[in-house]
Symmetry: C2
């Protein structure tokens, strides 16, 4: 099946075609990259404008259970939901060792859902590119909601924040953010903090945690893209399903407000510009790696540096002068 064959099938929402297209996007092979570029070009500007939601949470907060319950809630309303996992390490970490589809068994069988496990062994720069392209493909495939999932401990949250419309942080009851292993900067990215496990014995603790985070969020400076009351903290229970509808209401209310105020489009425009700049940067560096002459010169100077015949900064200055000429 060629890229040209894939395009119409993706536009019809065919999940197998979408999966194949994402595999092309993830591939390191030059011919696959070329096919992916052609496909993305064909599909540019068509398809739906999905609501792109970043969802971050450390292992143990019940992220898979939440996505399963929340995703089924949305598909139950007739929405088409795609879930993309981002962290290159998540395949190795405890939570998802069995694979993302096993983690979200019911959702993965839902015809209105699409779950894409994170590829192993991708470097962070590659992750950003692949994920942005996968989001474009999901929109072409008529998905209404694209959930991009990260594990809340690394750099991938920053990358994801640069490609989503909303950022949601899932927490467990109790403990400060440090105890839960969430970096402070991640909390500050959140539009909505959901405290999961607000059920049974843990409910009082969850409500206290909601109050704690609501207090903490209140201390953050209000951003122009936030309506009154945002960012906010809410209790949810993936188990009892309490609060899931409310969480979705808040997400759509926030997105609608931002659309009405023009923040939504402004943000997407900025994100597209950043993406463009990142691609140029990456492309330049790739050229450096691929040109045999440049590579040979880098090699020779690198060896001189490694053997102590030249200082790193001085050798770099020489290389930059060579590249200029």
């Amino acid at each position: 099946m060629t890229a040209a064959d894939l395009a119409p099938r993706i536009l019809e929402g065919d999940r197998r075609a979408l999966a194949r297209a994402i595999t092309l996007v993830e591939s390191g092979r030059a011919d696959h990259r070329a096919q992916a570029a052609e496909l993305l070009d064909t599909l540019a500007g068509v398809g739906r404008q999905a609501l792109r939601i970043g969802l971050s949470g450390t292992p143990g907060v019940g992220k898979s259970t939440f996505i399963e319950a929340f995703g089924l809630r949305l598909t139950g309303q007739g929405l088409r939901v795609a879930v993309l996992a981002v962290d290159p390490s998540s395949a190795r970490s405890g939570g998802s060792i069995l694979g993302d589809k096993t983690r979200m068994e019911q959702l993965s069988r839902d015809p209105n859902a699409f779950i894409r496990p994170s590829p192993s062994q991708t470097h962070l720069g590659g992750v950003a590119r692949r994920t942005r392209e996968a989001v474009s493909l999901c929109e072409a495939a008529q998905f209404d909601v694209v959930l991009i999932e990260t594990v809340g401990v690394g750099q991938s949250e920053t990358l994801v924040a640069e490609m989503v419309d909303l950022f949601v942080l899932l927490m467990a009851p109790g403990g400060g953010d440090e105890l839960q292993g969430v970096k402070r900067g991640i909390m500050e990215m959140a539009d909505i903090i959901l405290v999961n496990k607000a059920d049974g014995d843990l409910k009082p603790a969850a409500m206290r945690t909601v109050a704690d985070y609501a207090g903490a969020l209140h201390l953050l400076r209000k951003r122009p893209q936030d309506p009154e009351g945002f960012p906010k903290a809410l209790p949810v229970s993936a188990l009892s399903q309490d609060g899931l509808d409310k969480a979705w209401e808040e997400m759509t209310a926030l997105a609608d407000w931002r659309r009405a105020q023009g923040h939504f489009e402004t943000r997407r425009a900025e994100q597209a510009r950043h993406w463009f700049e990142a691609e140029v940067r990456e492309g330049l560096l790739a050229r450096l790696r691929e040109d045999p002459q440049i590579r040979a010169q880098m090699q020779a100077l690198g060896t001189a540096v490694a053997e102590g015949d030249s200082a790193p900064a001085a050798a770099a200055a020489r290389m930059l002068a060579l590249l200029r000429d």
Copy 2:
């Protein structure tokens, strides 16, 4: 005082001249950068080969108290000790709000010690460059030991691991590494884990923690640069000073073994090569930002992308083609 005046004074071990030189290195001003480059060039290859030690630990483990006690121990043996703080955020975080010199009061008054607080507001790439250059300057200024301190929660540990000979992780008794906010990857970088506060009531907990980490380290795959028994976990008490001599013995034993096996020089050579490559990369990107024509083209294409007239990847391909011609 010009860069030419600074060089001989640095070589004599003058701490004020060293401090001024590091200020040049940290500056964003082009004339300062040029002076710094000239100075580094003058000093290249002279001075001592210090033992470069990365020291990471989250706030609360007693890092300042440890560095103070450990540093005084080394200066008491006639060694000259420099302490460089890395994290751009540490100036804002609780532990060091009073400044690094206040944190390590006695050590900062020791004529054989040099303490450099972390500069605020530096981006991570800049941190790497500044720190590498500051290490070179400390070596030129005849320091025997350069301790590079990080807070154990961010990306700076990876950067620091790329510029040190040994990596030491300081922990508090009790809790797993997640509870202490140390990322898993950081533990795996450690050559030596020191469990601090092994004194008084906390001693039994500290000994248990040492045993836990020793067990965990045992599970990690042995690296070629590790002699038998490394990486290892040891108890220390900055308060009672117990274990500090032992910790230093283990560090020097490890460094000596690596020197004898050739790993020490191999690693320094690789680090120098990486530094060179990073400088070339950064220099190329800076050129992109500084050339007015290129900037104008980037601006025009970026606007087209932001306005939806062009797909990011397609615009990037066009820009790269322009740059090639």
